[in-house]
Symmetry: C2
Subunit: 352 residues, 2 copies
């Protein structure tokens, strides 16, 4: 059961989403990019990446660590493989040079203290403004995303396809009575890509999956993109994958402490969780949750106060790994967002 095929000319790129949280802002490291993208300045930026050296790197993760440490002065703590992307059509035409490119995305977490002046630490939400709901659902969704998606839904001639699109849009963005699910960050980005609502789609000549009514190459017909910084190649897709994965992970593994100093206040911890989850949390209940779950333990020490009563310093409690099968900060199911209710796109269904 082996099919013989020419696998020559495959290039393996290792891409790192390197995350840190500073002052409540989740940030990722980006680097300049001198590729052949024809698009504007916004895509002249990339995730740090390098090629796998098959003769040198014993494992993929070691390869990643090698050149991250060669090229930055970061020391990566937690590293996790995310996904391998290899769509032929997800590269800009200028980049395709006869060889097929795979990119393996990695998620790496570093502590705030590692955020130096060197690289560009971009606010993660500058790439996905619709993902930050700490202050409630962003107006961007009601003002831009929802109408644009509605147009995309209506843009299909086939009524079954319209239902399908409406369903996907509702579930991804929590419209029409559906609830917002922070972990679906990739679904949301992919949907916008398919609908031609992000710059990369235009660059790749994506025509929203049989986007009837629009000419494939009729560039004047492209809808206005939703705001949000682009990246070269498929790097914003990798970034969305990382966001969704990390949001899921913090719920059942104590990875959040990789982003914090050894000792921290509960509010610091809460802010880091909130910044990644993209939702605001109830302070007293959050405290009860992490304390009761045995995730943290108090050191006797106190902070030098910054504003109010001094807070106790806590540290991660390693023993929790013994006690619970899935120790994490178990985010609440967010309260129903009053804002976007009702005006949704309505429903149908398609799995995947």
């Amino acid at each position: 059961m082996r099919s013989e095929a020419s696998t020559e000319g495959v290039t393996v790129g290792l891409n790192a989403v390197i995350v840190a949280v500073t002052e409540g802002v989740p940030r990722i490291l980006s680097v300049p990019w001198q590729g052949a993208d024809e698009d504007s300045d916004s895509t002249r930026e990339a995730l740090p990446f390098g090629l796998l050296d098959p003769m040198r790197d014993r494992t993929l993760e070691l390869g990643l660590r090698r050149w991250v440490e060669e090229q930055t002065d970061l020391s990566l703590g937690y590293v996790e493989q995310l996904y391998t992307f290899g769509d032929r059509d997800r590269e800009p035409p200028g980049e395709r040079q006869g060889r097929r490119a795979l990119s393996i995305g990695y998620l790496a977490l570093v502590k705030e203290s590692q955020v130096g002046g060197g690289g560009r630490w971009r606010d993660w939400y500058s790439f996905f403004p619709w993902e930050d709901r700490r202050e409630g659902p962003p107006t961007l969704i009601a003002n831009s995303v929802q109408p644009a998606l509605a147009r995309w839904v209506e843009g299909s001639a086939d009524s079954g396809e319209r239902r399908n699109r409406r369903e996907r849009a509702d579930i991804a963005f929590g419209l029409g009575g559906a609830r917002w699910d922070g972990e679906r960050a990739l679904d949301r980005y992919e949907l916008l890509y398919e609908a031609g609502l992000v710059g990369e789609a235009r660059r790749d000549r994506v025509v929203g999956q049989a986007q009837e009514g629009l000419e494939a190459e009729g560039q004047s017909e492209w809808p206005n993109p939703i705001p949000g910084r682009s990246l070269c190649l498929d790097h914003r897709r990798i970034l969305a994958t990382a966001l969704g994965r990390l949001r899921g992970k913090i719920r059942y593994r104590p990875v959040i402490f990789e982003l914090l100093p050894r000792e921290f206040t509960l509010l610091q911890l809460q802010r880091v969780v909130e910044s990644l989850a993209g939702v605001g949390l109830h302070k007293q209940n959050f405290r009860r949750l992490v304390a009761h779950a045995g995730l943290v333990e108090g050191t006797g020490k106190q902070t030098v106060h910054t504003g109010g009563r001094p807070a106790e310093l806590f540290r991660f409690r390693r023993e929790v790994l013994h006690e619970r099968p899935a120790p994490g900060v178990g985010l609440p199911e967010m309260p129903e967002p009053a804002a976007t209710r009702g005006g949704g796109l309505d429903s149908a269904y398609a799995l995947h």
Copy 2:
């Protein structure tokens, strides 16, 4: 920030873990294997796999579907990418032919009706006998795994390393007061591999990460492997990844219905969940859970009875995707396994 490296000679294999559940037994499809493994018959079997044809396959997943459908008469429903493996040292020496092999693992779910006579549908737990706890913790753990791991722990000269090993073993296998976590199937397999307790380790000449006291090549010193069917290359590792991932997934996405006919009884549903999760569930509470969560809805129809009172037929309720952010069967945290308590390996800690 691109490092130039020779990426020639990389081969991309697409591997499928194709899962079905029949009569309460979770099964995966395997195929014969004529590779250069020197080991015994047990490794002459493989996951179905094929090579990516970079010129032909537009996406990785399409490539996978192409040759699965070419080579079997299965129609894959749900397909999900698992992980990309590329350790140089995880292939048997005979297989390394100058080129580096990456394997991208996929998980695919098919319905019971697809299980034909064609392939070999192996009981998933025949590869991982320690993972099936439906009848409580298997005696295999207390009888074989625990003592063998204890020897491995003691096999290190360095006391810090011993603590580290003990910690990992405890958490992975739920020993020493730690709780069993079904999703750590990969951790468990990797631990056994490192400890030289599975056949593949011997084949690959792994010396349990600085296994002092054993000669690297002194084959007579190898510990007896833990029972369980082997596979060629790193396929058992992919299989373990799939098991852990699927166990996690059924908790928050309704993928379980991909394995069931369109209409089913609640007991059928429960048996499928149990078979994958590897634990037994409380019947009445399971019923309450899935009904109350809105995951299923009754059709008026009844089964033709098989033994007792006829059961109502249910079907998956698509609308649940609108109502809950993470619809799944939310497994309970298993009751404390009375059997393995107390006799554990004791504790220390190491993240990851």
